[in-house]
Symmetry: C2
Subunit: 152 residues, 2 copies
DNA sequence: CCGATTATAATTGCGCACAATTAGATTGCG
DNA sequence: CGCAATCTAATTGTGCGCAATTATAATCGG
C-alpha cells in the first residue's frame, strides 16, 4: 500500500506567514482596483504618485528606493504616467545621468481626488486605525529584517 | 509664492498598511529567490507545489481557490511545471471540463529537498515561531475581511 | 589629463496577475 | 428531450517585477 507522506507543518501552506502576506497583498489589490479605476491608475502607479505628492521633482532612483523597485519596473510605469499627462520626465542639468520626475498641474490636481481612496480601503479593511498601525509597524519591522538578511 | 500642499496623513506612503504588505511581499520574494533557485522553482510555482504536496490529483480550480489565483495565471504556470517534469496534467474522465493536476515521482521527490526552505526563511525573518503565527493570523483575518468586502 | 571605476537609466526577456473573451462540458428547467 | 444557463479551462492583452545587459555620464587615481 502506498505510504502517505508525513505532514511537515512548516511546509503547510496555511502555516506560512509569507503566503499570508502574499495573498493579503492580492486582496488589497482587488479592493483598490475599483477605487483606482476612477483615477485611471494601477496600484503601483498610485504608489509612485504618493511618492511624488510628498516630494516633487525627484530622480527615478529616489522613487525606486522609496518603493523598493528598480528602473526595469519604474521606467515603463513612469512613461505610462507621462503619456497620461500626470508627470513630466526631464534629464537633470547638473547630472545628465538622472531622470527627474515632476508632477504636471494635472498630476497635482489628481491628489484631491485621491484623498477619497484611503477611506474606502479603511472601510473594506474593517480595522481600527490603531490596529492598522500596529500591523503596519510589525510588517515594516519584518520587511527590514528580511532586507537586512539579503545583505549577508 | 507657491502654496505647499497640506500633508494628508492617510495619503502618506509610510502610513499605509497596504504598502507595508506590498513591500514585505517583495522582500519575502527576494529572500526566497536563492533558496528556490536551487529547486528551479519560482515562488508562485512553489506555492502550487505546496498545495499538491498536501493533496495530489486535484483540479485546477481547487488550486486556484487555495491560492486565490485564476486559470489565467495557473494554466501557463502549471504548463511550465509539467514541462519541468514535476506534474502531469490530465482531463478528468468523470467531468471533461476539469483538468486534474497530479505529481510525478519527480514532483513528489522534490518535497524532500523543499523541507530545507522554510528553515531558511525563518532564519531570515529573525522572528520567533510565535511572533510569525500571530502576524499570520492577523493578516489572514485582514485578508478575509478584504475579500468579504469585495462581495458587496 | 586620461583611463578605470562607479553611478543612473534604459532595454530585453521571462514569469506572474488579472480582466475579458472563447470553447467545450454539464446541469437544470420546461 | 431540448435548449438555456452554468461551469471549467484556455486564450489574449496589458501591466508589473526583476535579472541581466547596455549606454552614457560622472568621478577618482595616477
Amino acid at each position: 500500500m502506498a505510504k502517505k507522506p508525513a505532514p511537515v507543518p512548516l511546509l503547510q501552506l496555511d502555516n506560512q506567514l509569507c503566503f499570508a502576506v502574499y495573498s493579503t497583498g492580492h486582496a488589497f489589490n482587488r479592493v483598490y482596483k475599483p477605487l483606482l479605476d476612477r483615477l485611471k491608475l494601477t496600484y503601483p502607479q498610485y504608489l509612485a504618485m504618493l511618492v511624488l505628492w510628498e516630494q516633487d521633482n525627484v530622480p527615478v532612483k529616489d522613487i525606486g528606493e522609496r518603493l523598493f523597485l528598480d528602473s526595469g519596473t519604474l521606467t515603463p510605469l513612469l512613461k505610462r504616467l507621462e503619456a497620461a499627462g500626470l508627470i513630466k520626465r526631464t534629464r537633470s542639468v547638473e547630472d545628465e545621468r538622472q531622470m527627474l520626475i515632476a508632477l504636471t498641474a494635472q498630476g497635482q490636481a489628481l491628489r484631491e481626488r485621491a484623498k477619497a481612496v484611503p477611506q474606502g480601503i479603511l472601510a473594506a479593511s474593517a480595522c481600527t486605525v490603531g490596529e492598522m498601525a500596529a500591523m503596519k509597524n510589525d510588517l515594516v519591522a519584518l520587511r527590514d529584517r528580511l532586507n537586512a538578511a539579503l545583505g549577508d
